[in-house]
Amino acid sequence: MNRRLATPLYLLPALAVYGLFVLTPIAESFRLSLFRWPFPSAQPVFCGLRNFADLLRDAVFWKACQHNAALLLMSLAVQLPAAIALAVLLHYPTRGRTLFRTAFFAPMVMPTAAIAVLWQFIYAPEQGLLSRLIALVRPGFAYPWLADPRTTLLWIFVTICWRYIGFHMVLYMAALGAIPEELYEAARLDGAGEWQACRYITLPMLRPMIGISATLSIIGSLKYFDLVYLMAGGVPEESRELMATYIYRLAFDEYQGRFGYGSAAAVMLFVIALLVIVPLQARSRRRSPDNPTGTAP
């Protein structure tokens, strides 16, 4: 068969599955977002863009957007540098390297629900690990880690960082392994020190991987859900929701079943994610044709 016809033909089944399970629900969300559907057993009523107008006035939704932005910045500012530092350190042939690598990666393979329970114990106000450690220097110390509206999300973000640093670290370790040893030899011949080699060889050679890991981080923080949903029940909704957790709570949780309004929020999340990710993708594509690695010439 003609190759030009065969390839699309072979791709069709995948497209059908993708269309059925991804595109159809997205289209359905768009349709539902135009309906007023206050509770599950009610009859949905077409209401145009009223859900979106309500959403723009919804203080909790705007707070949720801010929390996503904070998570995004924190991921980029904390997770990526920490992951690079760990990867560089573990790249040296140190004693117990495998042990360290496994330990740092372990949170990534733990089930999220187990992590949530584990950290709820760590963050227990009086008997938790953290409070007890601090109580060693300040007797009688107790703090509502997961019940202080001002700081709870911050502590959950710490858990999120703890979980994902190992994942990014593995990405960087793979990239480090791909840097040709000759570059370092040449640098040493030219009299470069350890720090200079790191600054002028390692970091530039890591740049494409930094791009990939940053993109993953950004997408991940925009749609983040699980640990916040599981751990932030102790504070009022305006201090706890991310966009995704708010959508879930509107549409499904606590018997609310506001499918129309929840779908409108989901459409907003879709648009915001698109606005952030399309420029990023465009940038990486601009880089690719003549300079595939994206590194400095």
């Binding site: 206050p38 509770f39 599950p40 057993s41 009610a42 709820q120 963050y123 227990a124 106000p125 009086e126 107790a142 703090y143 509502p144 880690w145 997961l146 019940a147 202080d148 509206p149 709870t152 029940g233 102790g234 504070v235 009022p236 909704e237 201090s239 499904f252 949780d253 606590e254 018997y255 609310q256 079943g257 506001r258 499918f259």
Partner: protein, 439 residues
């Protein structure tokens, strides 16, 4: 080779079903029995040892009596069930027999014809007369019954008798006693009340009781049903918020209780780090399983009244914690109702008492004697009650219920003033009243 594909399919199906936990007795058809021609699906949330077996045995007896009928039981986790049921109802694929708490959600299903009217069936064979009226009332919408209750639970103020005696104090009789006790136990480095409010309903009990003592049960019912101009920002609701915050200021609760799970709160009470615990009667069954010798120290009193309050301090907060309804779409309603008769049969009622839970049907004196002592005491309070104050989150429509739990958590956290919380409830009720027909 020809037999392989069906086999493979069967094993895949078995894998998929693995999470649904089908009961062993329905997995293979009984030898000699005619093939089942009717299949009924039955969903409940009694997914823990005790109630789960009791329901399974009742279903077995039903299947024995009706060999042509097969019942597929699925037991869910509490919160997951609410989500699942809401979605299945909306998409028109509910189970034939469904678990319900009665109240607002059931009224919503009834209004849209999603659950069957059981009034006629109940009038036959004196079935109706076996139920405790208050429990059946929670399953009744505009005079028609849409569910049969099995479990009746009451929230009472549990206390540790030994801790009280050791500190030379008596269980509280008034709101001021509560504040005094907070001082005594706080100074003794014992938490006055165990509370884990992460899921928001454990803390809600305090608000429900305080509002009840300040304004009475009628005020709540009027505000909920939009009668007589009563609203949720009436002064007793504001006063309840104030009194709740005064308890918080008196160190009534452990540090960070809003972020702590209910299980951790129960273990604090069972480990005797806390003197009192406002919780439902189902707690006794859990305590019996986790620390049986604690039952000897466990006692209860009614929640105290407030000075000048309109509510009686004999009113008990409670409700149906296990009831069954038949879906409006069920193709075999008569058979499904027959299953409900088996699920509320005298054997089930007796077994319910034996595991320490209060049945919603009048038990025989012998069955009642099986109740553990603390449950029997709570039942005495329930019997002496002049009214039953429903749980807000089971009586109100789902959205208003969620608002109630959120605003109460805000009161506990101090992020909302009592007036703000009351205003938010009233506004939400006004909005919801436009969207929902009043039940």
């Amino acid at each position: 080779m020809r037999t392989l594909p069906p086999l493979a399919c069967a094993s895949v199906a078995a894998l998929l079903l693995g999470c649904g936990k089908p009961p062993a007795d329905t997995a293979s058809p009984k030898a000699g029995a005619p093939p089942a021609t009717i299949t009924l699906s039955f969903w409940h949330i009694m997914n823990y040892s005790g109630p789960e077996e009791i329901l399974a045995e009742a279903v077995q007896r039903f299947e024995h009596a009706y060999p042509d009928t097969r019942v597929e039981i699925q037991a869910f986790e509490n919160d997951a069930y609410k989500t699942k049921l809401a979605i299945e109802m909306a998409s028109g694929t509910p189970p034939d027999i469904l678990f319900t708490w009665g109240g607002g959600p059931l009224a919503q299903f009834a209004a849209s014809g999603h659950v069957a009217d059981l009034t006629e069936a109940l009038s036959r064979d004196g079935w109706r007369d076996r139920f405790i009226d208050q429990a059946l009332g929670i399953c009744t919408v505009r005079g028609r019954v849409f569910a049969v209750p099995l479990d009746l639970s009451a929230v009472v103020l549990w206390y540790n008798r030994e801790l009280m005696q050791a500190h030379g104090v008596k269980p509280p009789e008034t709101y001021d006693d509560l504040l005094d006790l907070c001082g005594v136990f706080h100074r003794a480095r014992i938490t006055p009340f165990a509370l884990g409010n992460m899921k928001q309903w454990p803390g809600a009990f305090y608000f429900i009781y305080l509002a009840n003592r300040c304004g009475g049960t009628e005020l709540f019912l009027d505000a909920a049903d939009g009668r007589g101009g009563a609203t949720f920002d009436a002064s007793p609701f504001v006063e309840a918020g104030e009194r709740l915050q005064r308890l918080v200021q008196a160190h009534a609760f452990p540090v960070g209780f809003n972020g702590v799970d209910v299980g951790m709160a129960r273990s604090r009470f069972l480990q005797e780090d806390a003197a009192m615990y406002l919780m439902g009667t189902w707690m006794v069954a859990r305590a019996q399983a986790e620390k049986a010798d604690f039952l000897a120290k466990l006692d209860c009193v009614p929640f105290p009244g407030v000075p000048g309050g309109k509510g009686s301090s004999r009113t008990v907060v409670g409700g149906v914690n296990c009831g069954f309804a038949v879906a409006g779409r069920c193709p075999h309603p008569e058979r499904a109702i027959e299953l409900l008769r088996f699920l509320t049969a005298p054997e089930v009622v007796e077994a319910w008492c034996r595991i320490g839970r209060i049945p919603a049907l009048r038990p025989t004196p012998e069955a009642e004697a099986l109740l553990p002592e603390p449950t029997a005491k709570a039942l005495a309070l329930l019997k002496a009650a002049d009214a039953l104050q429903p749980y807000y989150d089971q009586y109100l429509t789902p959205r208003l219920a969620a608002e109630h739990k959120k605003t109460t958590q805000g009161l506990f956290a101090g992020t909302l003033t009592p007036a703000e919380a009351a205003a938010r409830m009233a506004a939400c009720a006004r909005e919801a009243g436009q969207e929902h027909p009043p039940p």
